[in-house]
């Protein structure tokens, strides 16, 4: 009886912790499926979080904040594109550079603009995405487990949460049911063939990166204007890398991406719950085990022990037309 309550509460925080992962991993999906490795997801998310909190604070509108976050995140994507597509630079080096830039710029600009040591001022309710309570949620709370589930997990989330779950089938549809998606997947496998068909590899990859920037904008906005009410230094805290791990774990497919993100979110929520609690017969389980688990699982997967994770063939290789 009590266990069900705990389970529902863990489920609720699982959802909350998974949302930025879902957006970011989908962003990585677009980029990596087009053959551009994206280590810079972390940086894009962080930059977007800062931009959206700043814009939301100045304008008082959460939606304008989201726009600002998306814009900055796309800008970061374009830098990545300029380095790795136009100049055929190393994609990993470029991604690492973006992560540094984001970690530095957010604090330097934040301190200069708001004088709060890299934080943005707290956002008032209107400048945030707050919880949406579904009709009958309060009444449902007292109506058994299904009602509790409805009230605590389905209802009471903010709009970005629902958008994240909508983004999964939408991404699937774009990648698997549109001409753009077909070409995008093809360019990640065999850019030469796409080029021979008379389609610009460069422009296609830029568009894939813009999609990635767009989605990272949502992830960052979720962190700073929905989950908390301000930008805090380093608030992405490695989530970009977890999203990358989830992307690999899902073998670069949209629906498994969502499931992997939910799994990693669940591990996080469960770790928070287990902190300081003892398990009968084992004693206290170190919280660090849960923290490391997504990374360990991804390595085990990469080693091929739970199926083979095969990245897009042309991933990481800049495309050069025949001279």
């Amino acid at each position: 009886m009590e266990y069900i309550d705990i389970f529902i509460s863990i489920l609720g925080s699982t959802i909350r912790l998974s949302i930025p992962l879902i957006f970011t991993a989908l962003a990585g999906l677009f980029s990596e499926r087009s053959g551009i490795f994206d280590i810079g997801l972390e940086g894009k998310m962080l930059a977007a979080a800062f931009a959206s909190a700043s814009v939301a604070y100045v304008t008082g509108s959460a939606w304008l904040g989201l726009g600002g976050g998306i814009l900055v995140s796309i800008l970061f994507s374009l830098i990545h594109g300029f380095a790795s597509i136009t100049n055929r630079g190393n994609q990993i080096v470029s991604g690492v550079a973006l992560n540094f830039l984001a970690a530095g710029l957010t604090v330097v600009l934040g301190s200069a603009w708001f004088q709060q040591g890299g934080r943005t001022p707290s956002l008032p309710a209107g400048a945030r995405f707050t919880e949406i309570v579904f009709p009958g949620a309060d009444a449902a709370r007292s109506m058994g487990y299904l009602g509790k589930f409805y009230a605590n997990v389905i209802s009471g989330q903010n709009i970005l949460t629902y958008m994240a779950f909508a983004a999964v089938p939408l991404s699937w549809w774009v990648l698997y049911r549109t001409r753009f998606g077909l070409r995008l997947r093809a360019v990640g496998e065999n850019p030469g063939a796409v080029d021979t068909a008379g389609i610009s590899v460069t422009w296609l990859r830029y568009r894939a990166l813009i999609c990635a920037g767009f989605l990272c904008g949502f992830a960052g906005t979720y962190l700073s204007t929905a989950q908390s009410a301000a930008f805090i230094k380093d608030m992405s805290a490695g989530k970009g890398y977890i999203a990358l791990a989830a992307l690999i774990f899902a073998k670069w497919k949209p629906v498994p991406v969502m499931l992997a993100c939910l799994l990693f979110g669940f591990l996080d929520a469960f770790a928070n719950f287990m902190q300081g609690k003892t398990v009968f017969g084992i004693g206290e389980i170190p919280v660090q085990i849960f923290q490391a688990l997504p990374y360990i699982l991804t390595c085990v997967l990469l080693a091929g022990f739970i199926g083979v994770a095969r990245p897009p063939k042309a991933g990481g290789v800049p495309y050069t037309k025949e001279r």
């Binding site: 280590i39 380095a83 540094f100 530095g104 490391a292 390595c299 990469l302 990245p311």
Partner: protein, 367 residues
């Protein structure tokens, strides 16, 4: 012939182009400083004064540079084999465990110069061990070393977090760190080195590991350019298929290269753990593993270039700290911005200016 394949003399490839990339990074950084309403020129002056003005500043600069030489060498050795080791951070962190074990178990009994060889070996072994699994996975299973080393950074951070909070912590203390090493577990400071230039080291933690770092530069140079293994490593990095046709065993070379790379990263721990704080602390690496990427790219993966680049980043770290003190509008994180820009221009955009340079070169030289 396109501009990308025109041969240029070495002084342009290894001198001018990195310099131009560096200048580009500084100009953009200056723009950021200007954007927050401060004078870039004044900021640069304060930065240089803070880093090189007094003996203490130089001591700090070289202290930072020591760590960056180790991690820079670590990244460079792997790059020569075509492996991008993002895991130097984690390998250095685990290396700290090796250094701490040596210091904690020997400092009661022997002087530092007896402890040090053990610490060097143990820290290198621990760092190498942390690079072993990613190397094995790359060599045997083809899992991308970039991803696995990133994952191992996080796993290492969790492991060290657990060990420091639960196992190594001094009972009754709050801070997650080991006990302070006695004199037998500390590396001596290099007062005499600064005194040679008529200045004082002051509180700067420049220590013996600086000399170890310089020695490792020599060792790495000999290894890469003067041994059979080095030849094999470079061949693998140049063309894996050529290496395999030439009978160079892929699995063995990848694993050995990564063990060397991890070992060099692990030795970085000597500097902060046994040199500066005389104890193993949480997050003592502080991003030096990632700085190593920038240092290696700036220094063109050559030990001599790495020394210069490491000192440059040492100047940035020390000068940046002083700068944030003198100009409160500019925070310490400005270093991260500059670092990001250096990685971007020197690494990812390394050939952006090349076509223009080739045109100028052809105009003035080949006619």
């Amino acid at each position: 012939m396109s501009t990308a394949s025109v041969p240029l003399p070495n002084w342009i490839n290894y001198g001018l182009i990195p310099l131009i990339n560096l200048c580009a990074a500084f100009i953009v950084s200056g723009f950021v400083v200007w954007m927050i309403g401060e004078s870039p020129i004044e900021a640069l002056t304060l930065l240089l004064q803070g880093a090189l003005g007094r003996g203490e500043g130089i001591g700090f600069t070289l202290y930072y540079a020591t760590s960056f030489i180790f991690t820079g060498l670590s990244v460079a050795v792997a790059i020569h084999a075509g492996l991008f080791n993002i895991g130097s951070e984690g390998q250095a962190y685990i290396g700290g465990l090796g250094a701490a074990i040596a210091a904690l178990s020997l400092d009661h009994y022997v002087p530092w110069y007896v402890t040090m060889p053990f610490a060097v070996i143990l820290s290198a072994i621990f760092g190498a061990a942390w690079a072993f699994l990613p190397a094995l996975m790359q060599a045997k299973r083809g899992s991308h070393i970039v991803i696995t080393t990133i994952m191992f950074n996080f796993i290492g951070a969790s492991l060290m977090n657990y060990l420091l909070v639960r196992v190594l912590i001094v009972p009754g203390k709050m801070a997650p760190e080991t006990r302070t090493f006695l004199e037998g577990g500390q590396l001596p400071k290099l007062d005499w080195l600064i005194a040679m230039f008529g200045s004082k080291l002051g509180a700067a933690p420049l220590n013996f590991s600086f000399l170890v770092a310089l020695f490792m530069c020599l060792v790495v140079w000999l290894l890469i350019w003067r041994t059979k293994l080095g030849y094999e490593i470079r061949t693998l990095g140049f063309s894996p298929s050529a290496a395999s046709y030439g009978g160079i065993p892929y699995v063995r070379t990848v694993i050995i290269t990564m063990l060397i790379s991890g070992g060099l990263a692990g030795m970085m721990a000597l500097n902060p753990v046994m040199g500066a704080s005389a104890r193993l602390q949480l997050e003592f690496v502080g991003g030096a593993g990632f700085v190593g990427i920038a240092v290696s790219l700036m220094g063109r993966n050559h030990p001599l270039g790495i020394i210069f680049a490491a000192v440059l980043f040492g100047v940035l770290y020390q000068g940046g700290a002083e700068l944030s003190f003198d100009m409160p509008a500019i925070t310490r994180e400005m270093i991260l911005v500059i670092q990001g820009l250096v990685i971007l221009f020197a690494g990812a955009l390394e050939y952006m200016f090349r076509p223009a340079i080739v045109r100028v070169y052809q105009k003035f030289v080949t006619v």
